[in-house]
Amino acid sequence: MTRQPLILRNPSVLVVLALLAVFTLAVTLLSQAYGSGVVPTSTVKILGKTLCLALAALAMDLVWGYLGILSLGQMAFFALGGYMIGQWLMYARTEAIVAAAMAGNPIPPTAQELREAVANQIFGVVGSSELPLAWAFAHSLTAQLVLVVAVPGLLALAFGWLAFRSRVNGVYLSILTQAMTLALALWLFQNDSGFRGNNGLSGLQNIPGLDGVPQATLSVWFLWASAAALALCYVLAAWLVSGKFGSVIRAIRDDETRVRFLGYPVEGFKLVVFTLAAMITAVAGALYYPQAGIINPAELMPIASIYLAVWVAIGGRGRLYGAMIGAIAVSLLSSWFTGGRAPDLPLPGYTVKWVDWWQVALGLSFVLVTLFAPKGIAGIFDRLAGVLPPRRHGRDLGPGQGALQEKEAKA
């Protein structure tokens, strides 16, 4: 028996890839660097960052929508990915500047002197001039790229192993994940943790070695990279959830105990998905922060992860495209409303300023979606495709609970 290829089994993959390609092409042709310049560079950056957020939402949907773990610490992995790439960006750029400044010295600097000067430049702001151990590989792009996935991956693996092995579930697990990201944020806020405390890493938009390339061009390149990462991860996620693996993780979400009695090592499955999602989120973060230009520990505060959960809930849990739609729609709306460009809403006696009221509107829509449309925006597509939950209204015909119901019997 031949099996249908993934694209036919899951037509949303093709649609998402096509939309992404059209979107990327359109932005490129309207950008200042490669086209008419209708779309300013700052907007290209916002769009590129939004794609990264959509990627994080995709990973969140794997963990929450498919596996059933409401992780409220997912953005810790996002920020860690950003920190890892930021180390190289900042080190390499500072090194280039310092080397240029020292080139005029009568005696050329030794490697040791250069290193010390770089450390002084980067850590002077927190009153230190030594390069912390965590920066041992900061000079190497390859090493830091490996760390982008390795550090969040190992953290997720260790955290997951401890939590899943003890069978921590539900709200307790959510609180633990939140505690994890908060603890990490508080640690990073300290000056002596080696990541410049609350200053964070900055100047990340300047890519070392590409000094001659204007930001207009760089922003389009990053948009391409973000779109490519999103496309690849979408295919990966769709493949993951389409087969028996997807079946098992959804079963774990719905009835973990029963899955155990089928002989599946539930903890192993949770670890694999949680770790993979952490690594995907980290890649998203590593693409996001060079576009944002700055990262600081505030990015790890639990509120960021809660926003991520809100996006996924509004977009639709358990549908990969739903999570992406939610992240894109809500984060774009959010930056429009909080950017001060949304027109005020004059009511008799009070003028609604969206900068102040947007959070309230978002919170309200989250509550409404949870109550009345638990499938979120993706529920609309389900309805169009005719995927409806079983209707089991009416009285039981038989004495047993769940016997044939009136409506079923008529059909």
């Binding site: 099996r3 002989g263 599946y264 192993g268 670890l271 004495p399 016997a403």
Partner: protein, 246 residues
């Protein structure tokens, strides 16, 4: 006949209440056994212990030719060793199709990576169709399990147990909520299954037990009160006292 499952002097108490009290029990490799007893006799706790859901305070549970102790294994490992369990309430994955439910239960590698790279083969598809036909759900393989009626869910769960190919089957009140015709079907299936594997049926419906026509173990207050044919145990004065005396 050597025993497939040997329960040796187990005791367990919850908050001071002794649910199982020095219980010993053995079943052969191809045997049908009914376990009866009044409410609170420890029937379900006994199943929980064998399947790894509850740890006994003392005693041992051994399984298979090598008499491997089950106490150091978790639920999933015990299930992989060949013990299947049918719950009282039908527990199927309602959000997934009948075929997906059966496919998940099919005997195959259970590790995350084995599952990730598992692909349906002609044999597995045929086996799922065969199982669906066996439990009368051949026309429903594409439907979501949540749409099935209570009886159909019971059958789907039985189908999933068959797909696991267990060596020991623990069945908790299979006849609950079934029609008379379905009960007869269930009896026939259990008797047929017991030819190739061990089947333990927990039940308190005496008519159903009589139809199974097998050795009966009576539990009372966490230990064995009597054992033998149904006629033998129902003549036992202790049993009469437990069932009728109050």
């Amino acid at each position: 006949m050597s025993a497939l499952l040997e329960v040796d002097g187990i005791s367990v108490s919850f908050d001071g209440f002794r649910a199982i009290n020095n219980l010993s029990f053995a079943i052969g490799a191809a045997e049908l056994r009914a376990v009866i007893g009044p409410n609170g006799a420890g029937k379900t706790t006994f199943m929980d212990i064998v399947t790894g859901k509850t740890r006994p305070d003392s005693g041992d549970v051994r399984f298979g030719e090598t008499s491997r102790s089950l106490l150091r294994m978790n639920e999933a490992q015990i299930a992989r060793a060949g013990i299947g369990r049918k719950f009282q309430r039908p527990t199927v994955f309602e959000d997934q199709s009948v075929a997906a439910n059966l496919t998940m239960a099919l005997k195959a590698g259970r590790g995350p990576f084995a599952v990730l790279f598992w692909k349906p083969s002609a044999a597995s598809v045929a086996r799922v169709a065969e199982l669906a036909a066996e439990v009368g759900l051949a026309e429903h393989t594409g439907r979501k399990a949540g749409e099935l009626s209570h009886g159909q869910k019971q059958w789907l769960e039985i189908g999933m147990l068959l797909a696991q190919e267990p060596r020991l089957l623990l069945v908790d009140e299979p006849a609950a909520g079934m029609t008379l015709a379905e009960r007869e079907q269930t009896t026939a299936l259990l008797v047929r299954l017991a030819r190739t594997r061990a089947v333990v049926v927990v039940e308190h419906d005496m008519d159903f037990v009589r139809r199974l026509d097998c050795k009966v173990t009576v539990l009372h207050q966490g230990s064995v009160l009597a054992e033998g044919t149904l006629d033998h145990v129902t003549r036992n004065p202790d049993v009469i006292e437990v069932y009728l005396g109050r």
